[in-house]
Symmetry: C2
Subunit: 311 residues, 2 copies
């Protein structure tokens, strides 16, 4: 029996993983990462999120690693990765999930649901009049596949849309800005800023005090990219000074977000646990099963990680 | 000077109303409802929400009443309404606001943001895997202008859509059910139920224990119609038994929602203060100014209230 070892979602998730794989690859023996009855020699495939460094190296017959998330930065700390193909999650559902997440976050901030939530806890009934969509300018940083899909999801609501990217792009109905010279003019016209940039040395800490100061007073921010892009202390300062209105955060400098983080209980911050573009387990199992089947058939693998490029 | 008397939004709102009217009808003297310096004889127009019964009758030269909301049920208790035209708010922005509200509510429930909000308060990091949009069936009760617009807003997200109405309707990409015989088959396939029905004797209490029992286990409910449609005690029972997952409520049996209502602090209920389709004050001022100008020019008035029909 071929073993697929899973580290994703906590020990309680293994039954759901088994059920998901049963419908697409019932021949696989799907086991939890810390199952003591696993024979290390029988492990052929691993579907993982943030495995302990060195652990994958302990399975001599491991042939293929599949990341349970879109990024592979959670594997970067492992200097003893086995010399086998590593595939990034590429389920098409991930793009759909991000469309939903961006539309939900922007509408949440636009309609002041962060304030209604605080009012609900205080049993306060207050209509809080607020601008219509044509007076709420939404800007997206990062105009790749996810950024373009997010803008598609926002377009029908009538928000004036803009976008910013390193290299010039053109998107229908979107005012496009590019490179560092275009950054401040872009920010100056964003009432809601959505960050979907990739994590690179250039984007590290790009959501900082200077960036927030360039936004109009009362602007709000969504970070659904990577935690390394946001300087959390600068965000807290901009919220507490009243310059920024609110933030929706899906990613953090440290994940899981530590219990003592001041972000948790800040009244202007809405937190989700790195799920923005996360497909459900059935969708991820479908993708992993397709990759394993392609590997066994000797076909080319999608989304292959290239350690030299870093993604 | 022609006085426009305003009762909408609380005494603090009058400056915002004045600013809004200043851009469209600067000649009007816009006064707050309880302004002691108002000369009752100079009041020609009233823009009101839930005025005290009998009060409108005290302005002998009142020529026109405009409701500050889409409904006129807030005027129904006044048996001494003056014999002047009464116009329902008909700002086109109201339909756009409802599109936003329904998309926001459905995405909020679909992505389990009610649970993430509770987890945030408890500083709990848990991904809570959940189904993709194609596995989340959304049904809308009421297929008039608002229902059709709401379904348009949901369509791009890939939810399987259905609708229910008293008389048979056909909408593209929507599985349509009609009349009381179609109600239970409709409910049986709704993972998220959105109520946009008008308040009539037939719809009174239609969201009750029997309706909830006909929904699949784990379903969620949005009421953005009128509070009279929902039996609040039945909703609480269905949530507490675990049959229903969550609810988003914009309207209530009593408004403002009384401070001692058990709805306020229920962890599965998201509350907004009757703002689903509420346009901002500038949009309402634009509409009211257009109605007043049409009235003065002797032109036909839009959205005229007919006391015989009741709307």
């Amino acid at each position: 029996m071929t073993i697929l070892l899973v580290k994703s979602g906590g020990p309680g998730a293994i039954e759901e993983w088994r059920a998901a794989f049963a419908t697409v690859r019932p021949d696989l023996d799907v086991r939890w990462w810390d199952d003591p009855s696993v024979d290390p020699l029988a492990v052929r495939y691993a579907l993982v999120w943030a495995p302990e460094p060195g652990r994958l190296k302990t399975y001599p017959n491991l042939r293929l690693v599949i990341s349970s998330g879109a990024g592979v930065d959670h594997l970067a700390g492992d200097t003893m990765l086995p010399d086998v193909p590593i595939v990034r999650l590429g389920a098409p559902e991930a793009v759909w999930r991000m469309r939903e997440y961006v539309a939900l976050s922007v509408l949440h901030l636009h309609r002041l649901w962060h304030r209604f939530a605080a009012n609900q806890r205080a049993r306060v009934w207050d209509e809080l009049p607020n601008p219509e969509a044509p007076e709420r300018r939404v800007g997206v940083m990062g105009l790749g596949q996810l950024g373009a899909a997010a803008l598609d999801a926002l377009r029908p609501f009538g928000f004036p849309l803009s976008g910013w990217s390193r290299s010039p792009k053109a998107l229908p109905g979107v005012r496009c800005f590019a490179d560092m010279r275009g950054l401040k003019p872009f920010l100056a016209q964003c009432d809601i800023l959505v960050c979907l940039l990739p994590a690179t040395p250039e984007t590290n800490g790009i959501l900082n005090a200077e960036t927030f100061a360039a936004l109009p007073r009362g602007a709000s921010v969504v970070n659904a990219a990577r935690g390394s892009l946001l300087v959390e202390a600068d965000l807290l300062a901009a919220l507490d000074s009243g310059h920024l209105e609110a933030a929706v955060l899906d990613v953090f400098e440290t994940e899981p977000l530590p219990p003592d983080s001041p972000l948790w209980l800040h009244p202007c911050i809405t937190i989700t646990p790195h799920v923005a573009s996360f497909p459900g387990r059935p969708a991820r199992a479908r993708f992993a099963a397709e990759v394993i089947t392609a590997f066994e058939a000797g076909r080319a693998l999608p989304n292959l990680f290239d350690p030299k490029r870093g993604y």
